[in-house]
Each structure stands twice: as structure tokens, then as C-alpha cells.
Subunit: 295 residues, 2 copies
């Protein structure tokens, strides 16, 4: 494992992911806009760059994990962007949850420079990232995917391939986040109906997750929602709204109504209006209680 | 096992359930409005009654499995209803998916006659009923529940107790059906988004159910929806609309909006308008494709 990795974006998700790549034995140079967030990983053996293009080697591998489209564009494009350095043969593994439209644009810009853009967004909260338990959805050039596979394996428990068009991985990723938010809204509605009828929320949660809804999403988020215990914050409502907006944009592009997504948009937006934007997205369900007159 | 059971309602669900009780060694008398549906179980050893009160013994156990509130009222109340015969010490195990309000009314009427009304609605399709794999949600008088427990065990793989108020079991049951319909709608929306973007529906289904959504509901219904294969009909859209109406009625009573339930109401109603009322409820997702302009 002599490949050197340029890792860009060391937030709640990026930091534990980068740590796992470092542990797998790669040489690593890191960049984060807020330099203070690089201290821990530099102690662990990574080198620090002060600009995105600092950390990338010509023809090498860059990995980015950022909050949104704007951040990905900022570190990739422009005179000190990673794309200015990556060059022929290089691979940019873009793990952020960004719009399918941006993935498409990035794919074309990278091709023009002779390098590859592999979209590889992930499912999992920061704890899962730390435990190397992410699920990774990838799409992009076949040879590039093969080259970066060991890097992805260092971060996740499984990789699902969706072909050559990077935007497809992003559609699947935002679809998954929509599916999680839908599950949370629907659980919130029935737990509140139970509560209003004098039935224990947790008992309903237990029955459903011990029988026909026994998947990680229903178990993990369902417990938070049943118990109204939303700590710690794994993924804030602000970012969840961003993702539902990406879903609605993709649906608009594809010419299809998504009524649940529209409903979730308003639910999340209202959560932000009520000052819950930095709270965990499971707290979207508090809006249901608000509307039911529960204090 | 010398208890004699009066079993009322031998439809798609009631028939396999009654067969399992019979196999467990109980004496059984059966009633069904359409007498022809009793032929098979009479061959298997049950006796046939021609009126609901025919099949019930004074102080005995009656089990009913019917399509809706009206059918349950018809076989229970009135001069030839089972309640006219059941009398002191008797137990009526009501396994139909009916309104919490009717459960409450039935509870009071049974108490007045000195007998008990145990609500025990079930989760599972006809195949699950045949395989003794139903999940049963029960609520009612404690002594009555204890007496009928072996009868329920003959029909299901697990029993969840929700206390003394029978209506609570019905709230949990209709909540579960709502949760299933919500899961189907949300899967339908993303599989259609995938399709409109040239991504294989089944590949998205596989990824999600092999990772964070690996529960029976997502696997079983998700496969039908991904493949657009809605045979055989386990539970028709007509009955699903009935259940969502029960949810909305309960929500109205409890004074709480349930926006996903409202959305599902319109989706199911539109399915009926398009002539799909007798089709499986997973086909509610065809409405999403209709709206997306998919032929």
C-alpha cells in the first residue's frame, strides 16, 4: 500500500473515515478549511496541507467528504482546487452527499483533465464511520473504481456498485436518506397517535421492531423517536433539509411528483424555523407533536 | 384441550387461521355468511352452523375474523348474533382489523352480558396465517386473555400484550398497517425516481434491503414494488383504504394531523378510482408511476 491519499474534509464524518484510511497504512495528506480540525489526524501521522491542491499528487488519489455542493465545488475547482493538480490518471473519490447534477458536471470536468471522478457517498452516522461500518454506494469509471476499492474497503463494511455514471450513486444516496426520513415521519405519526390514546410509545416501538420492522433504521431511529431522546446529534436537520431538497430537485428534473418528499421538506423546514436546525434529524418528529398540541 | 371454539369468518385470513386451531385439537363449530366457504373446513373435521349464535357455547370461546366494522357488528349483535348466546364467562376473541371505537363499544356490550371481549388483531398475509406465522396484538381482560392464549398460540408465532383496553390493540394494528403503507409509498417514490434516471429499480431495492432496511416489510413488499409484480393479491387496496380511514378517524378523535396518512388516503382512493380496488395494496405505488407519466 504505497498509494498516497489526499483527504479533503475532516468534519464529523470525514475525520473518522480518514483515520481508518490512515490506519490501513496509506500515506496521507489532509486539507480542511478550518485548520484546527486537522490537529488530531496530524498527530496520528497525516501531513497537513493549507490548500486543497497541496494534498493531491499528480495522477494520485484524492478523497473528499464535504457538507454540500458549494463546499465540493470550492475545494475542487478554481486555481487552488484539487482538480488543478490531479491531472491525467488521477482519481477523485467524492464521498459527499451532493446533487446528481453536480456529480454529472464534475464527471465531465474531470474527464476533460484526463482524470476520473468516482462518486462514493455513504450510509451511516459518525459512530458507523468510526467503526468502519459505513455502506458505500459507488459509480464511475471501472478502472478508477478498481484502483480505489481498497481505500473504500478501509472505510466501510460493504460497497454497492451502480455503474459508470457517477450521478447514479448520488441519486441512490439521496433516495436512501429520503427513505430514512419517511420512516421517521411515519413512526413519529403512530407513536404520537399511541401517546394521545394512552398507549406507551416504547411498547409500540418494541412490538413493531421485534416483528415486521426489525431493520437498523427502524430500531435505531425508532428508539430515539419513541423515547424522544435525540442525543447525540448524528446528522442535523439543516443537512437533512439539504438532502430532501436534492431529492426534490432530482424529482423535478425527472418530472415526477414525490408527495412524501414534499411533506418532509415542509416538516424539516418548519423544524429549522423553530430553532431545531442543529438538532438531530430524528427530531423532525417533534413537529408532529407540536401539531397535535403536545407540549 | 376440551374447549370448544366457535369460529366466525372463513375468508382469506380466517380460513387458514381456523384450520390451525382445528389442527391444535380443538372441537370447532364454524359460521360464514357464504356457507360454501365452510366446505373445506367441515371436511377437515369442523361442524357447520347456519347462524352466528349456532356455533357458540354458553360461557365458551368465540373467535371472529371479519373484513370490517359492519361485518363484526352483524355477527355479534342482533337476535342471532353471537353475543346473544355467549353469556357469563364467555370470551369473544375478535381478530378483525376494526375501528378502535367499535372495539370500545364491543367491550362495553360484552361486559354488560358478563362476558369478555378480547381484541387480538393480527399482522401477516394469508400465507403467514397458513404457516402459523402471524404476529398477534392483544388487549382485554387479563383472565380472559389467559384462557384464550393457547388458541392464539395455535395461530401465531408471537403475541404482544397491550393491556386491558381492547381498543388499544386495534390502534396498534391500524398503526402497523399505516406504517407498511408508508414504507410502500416511500419505496415506490424512490424506485420511480431511479427508473426515471435510468437506474435499475431492483438494484436499488437490493442495496437498501441488504443494508439498512433489511426487515420483512421492506424485503417482501419492496420486491413486489421494484419488480412491479403484484401477484398474488394478499390484501386488496379496498381493505387498505378501510384501514387508513380507521387511522384517520382515530387521529381525528385524538386531535392530531397525520399528513402521511392523509396522503395515503388519497393514493389508495385514486387506486380504487382507477379500477385497482381488488388488486394488492402494494399496487398503490402504480399511482406514483401514473403521476410520473410512466405508461
Amino acid at each position: 500500500m504505497t498509494e498516497s491519499i489526499g483527504f479533503i474534509g475532516l468534519g464529523n464524518m470525514g475525520h473518522p473515515m480518514a483515520i481508518n484510511v490512515l490506519k490501513a497504512g496509506y500515506n496521507m495528506k489532509v486539507y480542511n478549511r478550518d485548520l484546527s480540525k486537522t490537529e488530531k489526524i496530524v498527530e496520528a501521522g497525516a501531513k497537513r496541507g493549507i490548500r486543497p491542491d497541496d494534498v493531491v499528487e499528480r495522477g494520485g488519489i484524492a478523497v473528499s467528504m464535504l457538507a454540500n455542493d458549494e463546499a465540493l465545488e470550492a475545494v475542487t475547482l478554481g486555481h487552488d482546487g484539487l482538480l488543478s493538480r490531479l491531472g491525467p490518471g488521477g482519481v477523485h473519490v467524492s464521498m459527499s452527499t451532493v446533487s446528481p447534477a453536480l456529480a454529472h458536471k464534475m464527471h465531465e470536468l474531470h474527464e476533460k483533465e484526463g482524470c476520473s471522478y468516482v462518486a462514493a457517498p455513504v450510509f451511516g452516522r459518525p459512530e458507523a464511520a468510526a467503526a468502519q461500518q459505513l455502506w458505500i454506494v459507488e459509480a464511475g469509471n471501472a478502472a478508477a473504481k478498481e484502483r480505489v476499492r481498497p481505500v473504500l474497503e478501509a472505510m466501510g463494511q460493504g460497497i454497492f456498485d451502480f455503474g459508470e455514471d457517477p450521478s447514479h450513486a448520488n441519486i441512490v444516496k439521496i433516495s436512501g436518506n429520503f427513505l430514512i426520513a419517511s420512516a421517521m415521519e411515519s413512526m413519529g405519526e403512530i407513536f404520537t397517535l399511541a401517546e394521545k390514546n394512552g398507549i406507551d410509545r416504547t411498547q409500540v416501538f418494541n412490538m413493531l421492531t421485534q416483528t415486521i420492522f426489525g431493520s437498523p433504521i427502524y430500531k435505531n431511529y425508532g428508539q430515539k423517536i419513541a423515547e424522544k431522546n435525540f442525543q447525540p446529534v448524528g446528522f442535523p436537520i439543516q443537512l437533512a433539509l439539504k438532502d430532501i431538497n436534492l431529492v426534490l430537485d432530482a424529482a423535478e428534473q425527472a418530472r415526477m411528483p414525490m408527495p412524501f418528499a414534499s411533506q418532509l421538506h415542509d416538516r424539516l423546514l418548519s423544524g429549522i424555523a423553530k430553532g431545531r436546525g442543529e438538532n438531530d434529524w430524528a427530531e423532525l418528529t417533534r413537529g408532529i407533536e407540536d401539531e397535535a398540541g403536545i407540549e
